[in-house]
Structure formats: structure tokens, C-alpha cells
């Protein structure tokens, strides 16, 4: 079910990425299919980038320590919750 929740977000980010464009000045022929492949690939990787924490929580119960400021602060202050 979590997967269904994040799907609209993926679509939005992919759309936003593909809409944001700038003029190209190529020296080597970038191709047409291979250039389009890069655009599509960029969108997929970007979706993964924005949703990396959500994807992480799909497979892990606890949040990654570095992404959780409170937990990080506890670790820094010597109050590591895992050790208690």
C-alpha cells in the first residue's frame, strides 16, 4: 500500500523534471534515441533521489540514523537509543 502512496509523487517529479529544459549545444552527435533515453533515465533516478527515504522505509522499519536529526543528536550526545 505504501507503494501506491508514493506513486503519484513519482509521476509529479518525473513530469517536473522532463518539463525543465534548456537549449543543447552538442559537439558530438548526442543521437535521438540515446538522448531520450538519458531524459527518461534522469527522471527515474530523480524519482529515486526524492523518494529515497520513503523507499528506504518500505524495506526497513527504522529510519536511517543520518536522516533522522533527533536520533543523530542523541547519538552525538551519547544517548544512542540502540545501545539502551
Amino acid at each position: 500500500m505504501k507503494l501506491l502512496r508514493i506513486l503519484p509523487l513519482v509521476m509529479i517529479f518525473m513530469g517536473a523534471l522532463l518539463l525543465s529544459e534548456r537549449p543543447a549545444y552538442a559537439y558530438a552527435d548526442p543521437g535521438t534515441g540515446l538522448l531520450a533515453l538519458q531524459a527518461a533515465g534522469s527522471a527515474l533516478i530523480a524519482a529515486g533521489w526524492y523518494l529515497r527515504r520513503k523507499i528506504y522505509t518500505l524495506f526497513h522499519r527504522a529510519k536511517p540514523a543520518a536522516d533522522n536529526q533527533e536520533e543523530a543528536a542523541r547519538v552525538v550526545n551519547g544517548e544512542d537509543s540502540h545501545s539502551s
Partner: protein, 500 residues
């Protein structure tokens, strides 16, 4: 745009280089000329600032220090008559010999591709990018690949998620390797494919099921499906960007990591051939004969101390390696790519100064490219550049498989060496000679060592001799009328002889 609209200027004051090559002309940012002792690169005014910025950058320093990028210095008009005051020219060391991708083994292709990706990755991290990525921008210094095009670097838009040279990398590096491994299209065929293969060509040739292999589904099948031949011109000018520069960099790094994986997959399995295990499997040699041959070659190398050695038919490189260990710079070639792969891998692992080329002395790599003046023929790169040429157990191949007369073989050898030639003569009684004789006894069955000496007599005198128990003979020849002299001068003299 000047570079695109106008052909490169060749003012009358420009002396022609002796390399036989046209100055390069594709890159609008500048052009390269090969000189006797260096390569000179003229930078066009439009590319002056970015080139100077790159030369001052820590990226350039790091790449030169790691040996991944050819050294550059600003050329002075005092040292080079070509350089006009006020113009920006760069001077690079000459890489000798030049080797072309169609003369590389699969492992060399992989090394060149990995070098390109490594440099691209470092460039991206430093805010730069490679604007082109082709094997033609890589040369081998000994066994080590080096990027030689300093004009490939340009500033990167920090928000761009596209690597413009990605398509060229796929077409010129990845797809030839995929085609070689899965379709049997030889890497040598890239001689005729400057811009590599289009995804649709590979897709069409692959069996239907293989088109969906995860190893190349994206760059072959998906890229073919995404091709839009009738797209509007405005579409072609737009590229995707990301708002967050960190994300843009992440995307580019992922893309390069994926290409690295695909290259390793396509260039992974080493090939084996009849000749790649030849040295180990040789039945016609007893250990005592091998040892005697090795001792003679070693003693000859130590006595002559040649600075440059050419090993023709080098196989897996036992003697090329011996020459390198004796202090020589070695060029080794063989027509068997699998045997040469072992040679290159050994040289790369042990950092030996051996340049390895897949080439056939009887059908040397031709000149290629625009007017046949973009890429030199093999012999143009080798003639007159060696103090010692090794032709160990090669001549019987040339006689029996190429039907080359002994006199022509002698003439060719004399054009390659400045002074010494070491030959291993394989007599008709030898099992390897018999294997290729194939009933042509009347023509080739009675050739003797004396016939060899007589045919070589117009060019060489015998300086030393060593006979082995298996009837093979090692002969050291010395060129007549040549005791020393510069490579270029000797090369010209020899060239006249060989075309007379």
C-alpha cells in the same frame, strides 16, 4: 562557427609535418598537428578562455599527475615556427607508436573505456564535463591508456542531467564491444565505423530474445524505440535539467556507473585461441632448446642494448618482455588477438614499456579516414624506428601462408630496422613447417638456411648464429651500410628502398 564553416587555414608559412597526416579538423575548438618530436595543438580564439581555464584548474593537474591525461604546455613562438605571437598553441609529447582502436584487443578497449569514464566522472565532480567520448581520443603509452584530447573538457551546467557525449560513448565504445561479443563483429571492423554503431543496427542484428537482455536493453532496444527521426527541430534543442545541482550530479554519476557496468559485462570474458596457449603447449620445443633460445636472445639484447625493439609475431610476448626488461621500449604485434591480450595484460600488470597492437605484418593496417590522411598505416608508423627487429618463428608463416618470397621479407625487415634483425629460421623438416606445407613440397619443401641468407644478402650481413637441437636456427643480421643515424633519416632512406 568559423571552424565549422571554413576549412582549416593552411597558410603558406606552415611547413607540412612529416607525419603524413592532415591537421585534425572535426573539433571547432582547435586542431592538432603531429610534428617530429611533439604534437602541436592550435586553439581557436572562441575556445581560448575555456582552454586556459581548464589548464589552470586543479582537475587538469590531478589528471596529468595520475597519468590519465596527456601532458600539455603552452607552446612558445620561439620554439615553434608554426606558432604566431598572440595565438594560443599547446605542445604535447608525441606518443609513439600511435595505435588505433581497430588494433586493440578487447581488454585494451575496456581499459580505454574505463579511462574515459573515470575522467568523465572526475570532471563532473569538479564542475566540468567531457564534450566527446570516443576511443579515438585515447592512445596507449606502453600498455597504459591516456586521454590525449585536452579540448574535450568544457564547463558543465550544474543543473544539466544530460551528458552530451553519452550517445557517442555508447555508439563508439559500448556497442562495438557488444557486437564483438554477441554478434561476432570483429573490433577491427571499427576501422570503417568512425562513429561506431547506432542502437538500431545492433537491435536489428541481435536475436529477438537477446534484445531484452538487462545488460543492454536500455542502450539497444529502448534507445531504438525512443528514436524520433521526424521530431520537430525545437525538440532537439531542449535538454532536461534538475533544480537541485546535487541531484544533477547524482544522475550523471549514476549514468557513468551504469556505463562502467555495461562495459565490464561486454568486455568481460577473455578469448582463447590456437595461439594464446602456444608457448605453453609448444610440442616442437624441448626444454633445453627453449632455454638455449632464451639465453641467446637475452645475451644478444644485453650486448646490443637496443633502445627500441619491434617484435613481429610476438604471440604472448615472452621475448618482448625480455627486451623490455633489458631496457628497451618495445612495440609488439601479432595477428592473434587472444595471444596479444595475454601480452598486454602482462605488460599492464607489470608496467612494462610494451605497446601492443593487433596487426598482421603481411596485411598491415591501412591508412584510413578523410583522404586516407586521418589515420596512418601501420608501416608508416613503424618504418625506420627500431634498433632491433625480432622475427622469431615468423618467416615460415609468411612463406607458407602468405606466399611471400624471402627477398621481399628481407626488404620489409630492412625498412623497419635501423640496424639489427634477429630471425628464428624454421626449416622445412620442422613439424610446424610441415603443418602449413600442405603438399606444396615442390615449391617450399627445399628452402634452407642458405636460401634465407642469400635472399637477405642485399640488405643484411650475418653477425651471429645459434643452432638448436630441433634444427631451428637463430640468426642475427646487421643492416649493411647503416651503423647509426636518426630514425627519421633512416626511415626515409629505407622507404625509398622499399618502394623502388
Amino acid at each position: 562557427m568559423n571552424g565549422l564553416l571554413n576549412p582549416p587555414n593552411r597558410p603558406a608559412r606552415h611547413p607540412s609535418t612529416d607525419s603524413g597526416l592532415e591537421p585534425t579538423f572535426r573539433d571547432p575548438a582547435g586542431q592538432l598537428r603531429l610534428m617530429d618530436d611533439c604534437a602541436l595543438r592550435q586553439i581557436r580564439p572562441a575556445a581560448r578562455e575555456v582552454t586556459l581555464e581548464f589548464l589552470r584548474s586543479p582537475l587538469r593537474t590531478a589528471l596529468e599527475q595520475s597519468g590519465d591525461l596527456i601532458a600539455s604546455k603552452i607552446a612558445s613562438p620561439d620554439d615553434h615556427p608554426l606558432v604566431a605571437p598572440g595565438e594560443l598553441w599547446l605542445e604535447h609529447p608525441r606518443v609513439d607508436p600511435i595505435s588505433y582502436p581497430w588494433e586493440w584487443t578487447t581488454a585494451q578497449w575496456r581499459a580505454a573505456a574505463e579511462l574515459t569514464l573515470r575522467v568523465a566522472s572526475q570532471a563532473i565532480a569538479a564542475g566540468w564535463t567531457l564534450k566527446d567520448a570516443t576511443p579515438l581520443n585515447v592512445l596507449f603509452m606502453g600498455p597504459r591508456p591516456v586521454l590525449v584530447d585536452v579540448l574535450s573538457f568544457e564547463r558543465r551546467d550544474p543543473r544539466s542531467t544530460v551528458w552530451l557525449a553519452y550517445g557517442q560513448f555508447v555508439r563508439t565504445f559500448l556497442l562495438p564491444l557488444v557486437a564483438a561479443k554477441y554478434l561476432g563483429w570483429p573490433l577491427e571492423a571499427t576501422l570503417f565505423r568512425r562513429d561506431g554503431y547506432e542502437p538500431r543496427e545492433i537491435s536489428k542484428a541481435l536475436p529477438r530474445r537477446q534484445r531484452f537482455s538487462p545488460a543492454w536493453f536500455d542502450v539497444v532496444t529502448l534507445a531504438t524505440l525512443l528514436e524520433r527521426p521526424s521530431q520537430k527541430p525545437s525538440d532537439a534543442k531542449k535538454l532536461p535539467t534538475a533544480k537541485d545541482p546535487a541531484l544533477a550530479r547524482h544522475i550523471l554519476e549514476k549514468r557513468i556507473a551504469r556505463l562502467g557496468k555495461q562495459i565490464r559485462h561486454a568486455a568481460g570474458t577473455p578469448n582463447r585461441s590456437q595461439w594464446s596457449d602456444y608457448t605453453q603447449a609448444a610440442r616442437h620445443y624441448k626444454p633445453a632448446d627453449i632455454e638455449r633460445k632464451r639465453q641467446f636472445v637475452k645475451a644478444t639484447l644485453e650486448r646490443l642494448r637496443p633502445a627500441r625493439v619491434l617484435d613481429i609475431g610476438a604471440n604472448t610476448g615472452s621475448y618482448a618482455r625480455m627486451a623490455a626488461e633489458a631496457g628497451a621500449e618495445v612495440v609488439a604485434f601479432d595477428s592473434d588477438a587472444a595471444a596479444l591480450e595475454t601480452l598486454w595484460e602482462t605488460a599492464a600488470r607489470e608496467k612494462l614499456p610494451i605497446a601492443a597492437l593487433v596487426a598482421n605484418v603481411a596485411r598491415p593496417t591501412p591508412a584510413a579516414g578523410w583522404r586516407n590522411r586521418e589515420h596512418l598505416s601501420l608501416l608508416d608508423r613503424l618504418v625506420g624506428r627500431f634498433d632491433l627487429v625480432l622475427m622469431l618463428a615468423v618467416i615460415h608463416h609468411l612463406i607458407l601462408r602468405e606466399q611471400a618470397p624471402l627477398a621481399l621479407i628481407g626488404e620489409l625487415a630492412a625498412s623497419l630496422t635501423r640496424r639489427w634483425l634477429l630471425v628464428e629460421w624454421v626449416p622445412p623438416s620442422d613439424p610446424m613447417y610441415q603443418e602449413w606445407l600442405r603438399g606444396r613440397d615442390e615449391l617450399y619443401g627445399n628452402l634452407s638456411e642458405d636460401d634465407l641468407k642469400q635472399a637477405f644478402a642485399p640488405f643484411f650481413a650475418v653477425a651471429d648464429r645459434c643452432s638448436l637441437d630441433n634444427q631451428r636456427v637463430l640468426l642475427l643480421f646487421e643492416r649493411m651500410g647503416e651503423t647509426s643515424g636518426g630514425a627519421a633519416e633512416t626511415g626515409k632512406i629505407n622507404h625509398k628502398e622499399s618502394t623502388a
